[in-house]
Symmetry: C2
Subunit: 298 residues, 2 copies
């Protein structure tokens, strides 16, 4: 079924979602504050306009922005899109946000007759562009039904985690907790190995085939081996996402010492001015502390 | 090529190695302080005797004990086997030990004309019994040559990491660092998810398919979901192995904050009296701290 779809936020994930939706034969409008990304999307056959021109006709709106504050601005700020939508339209909220925030947005959208699907995404920019994301989704059955035509073109896997907003964001928080810890742990182990004479490429060759491996190790350690910190996912993601995790944990009086330790390393990376680099650059914190020279440095 | 082989230490890993060597048509003698394990091995067609009766005829000795102290006792204590071996025999040292210790053992074995292969193993008891271990090996080319007939029957993968002892143990330390961190991080995330309404089985179903997964998560989280803490690998392994890692790191002036945080959780698990349980029981530390009830409890 073809839908009229808006994608708000054409960063690496949103752009991939928009392109995948186009490929799925939806009518897709793209929105971003970055005019270059909008022009790039238009060149691929996407549509662009001012939101009020089409908001009332849209079936689905994917909001692919950085965080809760941006999500709230997009939905309910000045010119917020939620009140402009027709009854029965659905919002797919893809940013990593606190579960309580997702529940609040669901309620406010409901006041406008609009469905809200708590739909954080996982998989990275490559899978986004291939229409092969994983979506950790929760929401009303009607929200799922309204979102399904779009979901089927952007996602390989849709985890249906419950009949109200919040569960999707909770699972995303759990995933980010492990993903962030595994990146920092990989950096810790790779650089520890260097102090014992193990070269980074040897570390990757061996550990990726052993019980110490992780999805993130196999994905990120090659960046360090190559000395390539062009951002696929940046250091700055982690103070934000682990911040959400630790905020939720604190509220629940849950001690998360390993996550807290990983957080400090990402904060140090950001403090060293590496925030815009690939998140594998957290290895540079360890390298500097231990006087090591990573591949591509020095 | 058929060899005369001794396996010293018939715990879950050593027993599997001994059985795999038997299956590989070697002549295999098994040794353990636990007479039940020795009898079990004999019932499977293994040979048993007092070491001095056959030491001088052995081609290879696999030492599969708990740590460096036991390895040293087996090799050079009263009745130590190393001085009893014929020239050109090889010792496969499989315990997790500090790299410096491995280098010392190599040198001392060399004084007796005996080869030493620094050969820590990875893969768990099931793979050990199947002859499908991974071995992180380093040593002289002649040590590899002498060990190859035995290695080919017990290992699926032999990483050849260098021409002297130490590199194998260093890589094993790196692997254990990540493996231990990943077990504790899995427990942290699983229980954190519980505070947000995510059931352990739902955690496993979703996260094992997402970027937050790890080899250890997929292997150990099912134990928590099943409430089954029968030890495949016990909590007590980790204060030992992460202790080795942190000792090496301290000597290298390498700060390992994530490993240090994971260590505290395993120490707490041991302190709670869970040392002999499966290492997934580290989740009980988090559950107790957060007032959660794990599957199979309460």
């Amino acid at each position: 079924m073809t839908q009229k779809v808006a994608v708000i936020g054409l960063g690496s994930m949103g752009y991939g979602i928009a392109i995948s939706a186009l490929r799925g034969r939806h009518q897709v409008w793209g929105f971003d504050v970055n005019e270059e990304q909008v022009a790039r999307f238009r060149a691929q056959g996407g549509q662009t306009c001012a939101m009020p021109e089409i908001a009332g006709t849209l079936d689905a709106v994917a909001v692919v922005v950085l965080n809760a504050a941006q999500t709230e601005t997009v939905l309910f700020g000045a010119d917020g899109v939620a009140p402009q939508l027709k009854s029965g339209a659905v919002i797919l909220s893809c940013a990593t946000v606190p579960p309580d925030f997702a529940r609040e947005m669901e309620a406010r959208c409901g006041e406008h007759g609009v469905y809200y699907l708590d739909a954080p995404i996982s998989g990275g920019s490559v899978k986004a562009a291939e229409g092969r994301l994983s979506v950790m989704a929760s929401g009303k059955p009607a929200a799922f039904a309204a979102a399904r035509p779009l979901l089927s073109t952007i996602a390989e896997t849709v985890f249906e985690l419950g009949d109200g907003a919040g569960a999707g964001s909770a699972m995303k928080a759990v995933n980010q907790m492990l993903a962030g810890v595994h990146i920092a742990a990989m950096a810790e182990a790779l650089t520890f190995g260097m102090t014992q004479g193990i070269a980074p490429d040897q570390f990757l060759d061996v550990i990726s085939k052993c019980a110490g491996t992780s999805w993130m190790l196999e994905n990120r350690a090659p960046h360090i081996v190559a000395g390539d910190y062009a951002p696929h996912s940046s250091v700055n993601i982690w103070p934000k996402d682990l911040g959400i995790v630790l905020d939720i944990a604190r509220k629940a009086e849950f001690g998360a010492p390993i996550t807290a330790a990983a957080m400090q390393q990402f904060l140090a990376a950001a403090g060293m001015g590496l925030g815009a680099e690939d998140d594998a650059a957290v290895a540079k914190v360890y390298a500097r502390n231990a006087g090591l020279t990573l591949p591509g440095e020095g």
